[in-house]
Symmetry: C2
Subunit: 255 residues, 2 copies
C-alpha cells in the first residue's frame, strides 16, 4: 500500500467526507473520556493539530508488534482491540481488551519500544498521536498533562484489578467480574448496561481470565441456565446484574 493516498490531500470536492476525516477531537464522541477531556476550544485545536492522522485498522490486523519502536500513542476512536504479551511457549497472554476512548501504547514509553502487541478485534479506527509532539504540548497545557496522568494511572489501577481477578477469584467469579466490567464500560460510553456483543472469542476470554475455553463455555452456559444472563453466540444480555455482581464478589446467590 502507498503510504499516502491522493485523497489524503485537504482539497477535495467531497467536503463533508474530508471534514469528517479531518474532524478532530471536538467532533469525536469519545472526547470526554479521552485525552482532550477538559480542554477548551483553543487547546483542543492545538491537540488536534498534533494528531497527524487517523488510521483504520482492519479486524485481526496488528496495530503494533512487540519490539516495534515506540513513537506514537493511539487513541481508539472506534472499535475494539486486544493487547497481549507473548508467553515463552509461543502462546499469548491477553492483558486487556480496549474500546473507544481508551489509549494504547502507554506501556511502551518506559522501554522506548513496545512490549506487547495490539490487534484489532473488529474493523477499527485509531488516532495516531506522536508522543514527542504530545510532550511539547504538555509544556503549556497543564490540563492535558493532568488528563494524561489520569489515564496512565487508571491503566495502572485497571491492571491491579486484573491481578486481583487472576490471583484470587474462582472461575465463576472471574467470568462474572468480566461481564460486569464490560457492562460498566459500555455504560460510560452511552450504551446499554445489559445488552452488548462480545467482540472477542471464548478462547480470548479464557486466555485473558486464565481459564480454558471449555470452562468459559461451561460458565456462560451455567449463568444462562440459572437465568442471570442470556447468551447466544456473541450476543449477551445481563438479566440479573445485581446477582452477577454478587457472584463476582464471591457470594453466589444461586449456589
Amino acid at each position: 500500500m502507498s503510504s499516502l493516498s491522493p485523497s489524503a490531500s485537504p482539497r477535495s470536492s467531497s467536503g463533508a467526507t474530508v471534514q469528517a476525516l479531518r474532524a478532530g477531537c471536538s467532533a469525536c464522541g469519545m472526547h470526554q473520556l479521552c485525552l482532550p477531556m477538559g480542554l477548551d476550544q483553543g487547546d483542543m485545536q492545538r491537540l488536534e493539530q498534533v494528531i497527524n492522522r487517523r488510521r483504520k485498522v482492519k479486524r485481526d490486523e496488528t496495530l503494533y508488534h512487540v519490539n516495534d519502536k515506540f513513537d506514537m500513542l493511539y487513541a481508539i476512536r472506534l472499535g475494539h482491540f486486544k493487547t497481549f504479551q507473548h508467553n515463552p511457549n509461543g502462546g499469548q497472554q491477553i492483558t486487556g481488551f480496549q474500546m473507544a476512548g481508551e489509549l494504547l501504547g502507554m506501556d511502551a514509553i518506559g522501554a522506548g519500544h513496545h512490549l506487547c502487541e495490539a490487534v484489532a478485534l473488529e474493523d477499527s479506527e485509531v488516532c495516531e498521536i506522536p508522543f514527542a509532539s504530545l510532550e511539547d504540548l504538555f509544556r503549556d497545557m497543564p490540563i492535558l498533562l493532568r488528563q494524561f496522568h489520569r489515564m496512565m494511572s487508571l491503566e495502572i489501577s485497571r491492571e491491579q484489578r486484573v491481578m486481583l481477578t487472576l490471583g484470587s477469584m474462582t472461575a465463576q467469579q472471574k467470568m462474572a467480574a468480566f461481564l460486569v466490567n464490560l457492562s460498566s464500560r459500555y455504560v460510560s460510553r452511552g450504551y446499554s448496561s445489559t445488552r452488548f456483543q462480545l467482540r472477542m472469542t471464548r478462547e480470548e476470554i479464557g486466555n485473558y481470565l486464565g481459564l480454558a475455553v471449555e470452562s468459559v463455555s461451561r460458565l456462560l452456559s451455567g449463568f444462562k441456565k440459572t437465568g442471570v444472563i442470556d447468551v447466544n453466540h456473541r450476543d449477551v444480555e445481563l438479566l440479573d446484574l445485581p446477582s452477577l455482581r454478587s457472584i463476582a464478589l464471591g457470594s453466589d446467590p444461586c449456589a
Copy 2:
C-alpha cells in the same frame, strides 16, 4: 509521637547526621533509578525542595490505606513494601513488592484517592513528594516529566508481566520467575544477583503468585532438593540462575 522531634532542627552539633537527614536526592544511592534520574544539579535541588520530608515507616506500618486522599507520591529510600488490594472476602491480593528507588502511589492519581494499601515489610524510609508541587515542576523540567512518564510506564509493563505470570504459568514457573525477578532488581541496585533475603513471608509470596502457602513451601523445598537454589528461612541463594530462568520459561531442565 510528636510530629517533629527537636533533632529535626537544622542546627545541631552532629552536623553529619543532620546533613544525612536533610541530604536530598543527590546524596541518595537510588537517584539513578528514581525520579531525579538525569537531572542536573540545579534541577535536582529544585526537586529536593518540594520533597517536604522524609518519613520513617516501621515494619507492618501502613503508608496509606484504601480511600485515603491522594496528594503524595512516595519514593522508597530504604526498605521494602508490599501493596495490596482488598478482596471481597476480607482477604488481600498483593499486587507488588516494592524496593528502594521505586515509586508508590501512582495508581491513585486517576481516582484522587488510594485504591490499594501500602505496608512496610521492614523498617523503611520514604520521601514524601506532594504531587501538586511535582506538577508545578513538570512545567519547566521536561527531563523530570519524562522520567516520571518512564516510571509510570514501567509500572504498567511490570503489571502486565505479573498478569502473564498469574494467567499462564504453572506454580513452578511462577516461583522461578519470582526469584529471577527479585534477583534482577537487586542487581540493578548493586546487590548480589544470587544471594538475598526474602523480606516477605511465604504466605505473602503465595498470595502474590496466586498459590497456597504450602505450595510455596513445597516449591522452594523442591528447588532446594534439585540444587537450583539454597534456602534457609528467608535467606536464598540462587545456585543455578540459568536453570531457574529456563524453569520460568517453561522448560524444566530437571524434569
